[in-house]
């Protein structure tokens, strides 16, 4: 049992993830392997107050991604809890 803590929506990921992906991930869609939630990245819950960015599913709070900037590079963990569909130009 839990109550939502302070989090932001997925739109705040546009800046940090533009360093990782060539496409705009906030236009991406995610399908949750854990709870079946399906929807836009903008709906994700983003926790920004910790030592790194933590992004969770709005349906089940499972870890979607972690991003940490270290002196040796960006560490990106995609969590493995669902599929992300990224928009691309044909």
């Amino acid at each position: 049992m839990s109550t939502p803590a302070t989090h932001l929506d997925g739109n705040v990921l546009a800046g940090p993830l533009s360093e990782v992906f060539a496409v705009d991930v906030t236009a991406a869609e995610r399908h949750c392997a854990h709870c079946g939630d399906h929807g836009a990245f903008a709906r994700l819950r983003v926790y920004t107050d910790g030592p790194g960015l933590v992004v969770r599913c709005p349906g089940c709070e499972v870890l979607v991604l972690r991003l940490v900037r270290t002196p040796r590079g960006l560490v990106l963990d995609l969590g493995g809890t669902g599929c992300i569909t990224l928009p691309v130009d044909d």
Partner: protein, 199 residues
């Protein structure tokens, strides 16, 4: 706005014998979250130490409170660069909890309600260096700060002081926890600025 390197802003400097390098003193108690705050009922709360052989030692909330209580007065240092001096806690020393635990393990992985983990050498949890803390500043620990009980290991960066602690697994080999997997330091000594792996 750079969300990844964003820190808390406050007074720089302070007593260099008490504020580690790269830290500033805050008088607030910032809340760091990696997810929703678990609401853990003390009626069903347990703390379990599992040894490397699989032996389990479990305490209920009542049993924890019946053990000898200690009141550490200490400074805490968060890797997001704030340090808070002269904090007062009450809890049970890990020395007390480990007294009857037979182990030759060298590492511990702390587990929390909500799925958080962090790893530490077992020797950093003994000799009066670590507690299961349930009271802060004379009041029951707020859920936002890890209540009903959190690990308190003040000589390491505060991410090692796992909130909402549910147990420790004792291990022969080190196993990286939540932030350690994502590039943070396995040990995390604030006086040596061990923030990231390789520091």
């Amino acid at each position: 706005m750079n969300l990844i390197t964003r820190g808390f802003h406050g007074r720089r400097g302070g007593d260099p014998t008490r504020i580690p390098p790269g830290q500033y003193e805050t008088h607030d108690f910032p809340v760091l979250t990696v997810g929703p705050t678990p609401r853990v009922d003390t009626d069903t709360w347990t703390f379990t130490i599992t040894t490397e052989t699989g032996a389990r030692h479990t305490w209920t909330w009542e049993q924890l409170l019946a053990l000898p209580q200690e009141s550490p007065h200490t400074d805490i240092h968060c890797v997001t660069r704030w340090s808070k001096l002269d904090t007062d806690w009450t809890g049970v020393s890990l020395d007390t909890l480990l007294e009857d635990v037979e182990t030759t393990a060298e590492y511990a992985l702390a587990h929390s309600h909500g799925g958080y983990t962090t790893d530490l050498p077992l020797q950093d949890l003994t000799d009066g260096q670590a507690w299961i803390a349930h009271t802060f500043d004379g009041h029951p620990l707020d859920p936002e700060h890890g209540g009903p009980a959190r690990l308190l290991v003040p000589h390491l960066y505060f991410w090692k002081s796992a909130k909402w602690i549910s147990g420790l697994t004792l291990l022969d080999e080190d196993e990286p926890g939540f932030w350690e997997q994502a590039g943070y330091h396995d040990y995390g000594d604030p006086w040596r600025e061990q923030r990231y792996r390789g520091d």
